[in-house]
Subunit: 293 residues, 2 copies
């Protein structure tokens, strides 16, 4: 379905007949990570809606909007197989008609990490997601945790604007060797694919040290950075931050106390492909295969 108004009508009709709308927004080129989000939505809601929309406003002028992977026919097949009730795949001109000029912006949370390297990215994300929420009226929405900052920013938007939505973050889905699933992985050559394992290896190094009692922020960061540095062509960031406000935690992630949590987040370029990955120390299980290095 391409028309926003027909999409709204279908969601309205489902709600009127007593269904709970569960919504999974995607940019298509679906992989097992996306399908896990759909499965989670099915556990929480009775009418499952997936949008496929490569949102132009969240790409910078030098980013890969034009070359972002698209596989609409394959996507539709996967979603049909999963028993999705409705797929919404609008044209950009329908979501951003001529003369549109409204933007939704979350401020502080969008400053660090990817926000520092992709100006305007999160404003594009929050704007399109607010539009999709208004059209679909979902009770439940599922996003993946691979875009950890995106999830945090959207949680903030939902809370700040009082959207009546249960926003669920789904754990990162990984390949058997630890690589976080991403539509952009198809860009990787065989050599790049092998090097890309440095991201999850770095996360595991920090995770293992944390499990062993390490709480020094810079030490945990250095463990992840070493692995990423060994494989990346360019590093945007390897950061250890507070998982809630995404701010630096100080010298120790527990401030000297117990029960510490910290987000280790990575963004780097392997060849021409930008990859991200993360783990929340003190919360997530080991990110991928057991540590072997």
């Amino acid at each position: 379905m391409k028309d926003p108004i027909a999409f709204r009508a279908a969601c309205d009709e489902a709600r009127r007949s007593g269904a709970t709308v569960g919504f999974v927004p995607t940019m298509g080129a679906l992989h097992s990570g996306h399908l896990a989000l759909v499965a989670e939505a099915k556990r929480k809601a009775s009418f499952i809606v997936v949008s496929i929309f490569v949102n132009p406003t969240q790409f910078g002028p030098n980013e890969d909007f034009v070359h972002y992977p698209r596989d609409f026919v394959g996507d539709l097949q996967k979603l049909t197989d999963q028993g999705v009730d409705l797929v919404f795949a609008p044209e950009p001109s329908a979501m951003y008609p001529e003369g549109e000029q409204t933007r939704v912006k979350v401020h502080r949370l969008t400053d660090p990490l990817c926000g520092a390297f992709r100006p305007g990215h999160f404003e594009g994300v929050t704007t399109i997601v607010a539009k999709l929420f208004a059209l679909s009226g979902p009770a439940v929405v599922v996003f993946g945790k691979k875009d950890y900052q995106q999830l945090a920013v959207l949680r903030k938007m939902v809370r700040d604007l009082f959207f009546p939505i249960d926003l669920i973050g789904h754990p990162i889905v990984r390949e058997a060797d630890g690589l976080a699933m991403s539509s952009r992985n198809v860009y990787l050559s065989a050599d790049e694919r092998a090097r890309a394992l440095g991201l999850s290896r770095g996360l595991r190094a920090a995770w293992s040290a944390f499990e062993g009692g390490e709480r020094r922020t810079e030490t945990l960061r250095a463990l992840a950075l070493r692995e990423v540095h060994a494989v990346a062509d360019r590093i945007d960031y390897v950061d250890v931050v507070d998982p809630v406000d995404l701010m630096p935690p100080g010298e120790r992630i527990d401030g000297g106390g117990a029960g510490a949590k910290a987000l280790v987040a990575i963004a780097c370029h392997i060849g021409k492909t930008r990859l991200i990955d993360n783990v929340v120390l003190g919360e997530d299980p080991v990110p991928g295969a057991a540590v072997t290095s």
Copy 2:
């Protein structure tokens, strides 16, 4: 009712029982203009909700947030007399809890007129209205046309973000002598109250000239400006603009053709009070009493 979540629950309950929610957002200090909005909402919806909230984010640092007129007891009585079903009067800390950081912004439409003199004002308006819409889930919302630009900006937000809301603009309600009703009119001394008639007099001068066939933008503007200039202590603007995009219409408001419309909009200070007024030439009836000057 003060609690946002209880407010949402009451609106949800009304909808579940088959009612159509009609919403009138106000800043309180209610006058007959507000009550006309309520009456209009009652014609279009079955469960009428009024919010009373002096929204801090739409006031500049040197504006009258602290001294904005407040009369909660009187307001409640008027709304009860009108048969309003639910009054929502939250604390600022409930609408802007600590750590909130999301803003909704309409861009180009907020640049001219009041936007040029009140930086951030409309961002405050669109943000609070988006929050109130999310809480109340109205099918119908009524705003007055006295804040013409506010109505235009909110229409743009509703359209751009696909809010499923019928936004109704209600004609300006005036005192018998032509003064547009405003909560801020209580600030006016007797002398200032008399001088304030210059605004509607200026609009009538432009209106009468338009009705007589005048289409030159600068001539229409000068007619309004002369009256405002005679009474105002400071003029923010007296402008003639396109009623849809609020941009300058060129030398003639009909571009040489027929069927022209133009917004004549005024913002000026009488004593310490900032007043606004407007008329849409080619659309609105004569603004106030017949022209006598």
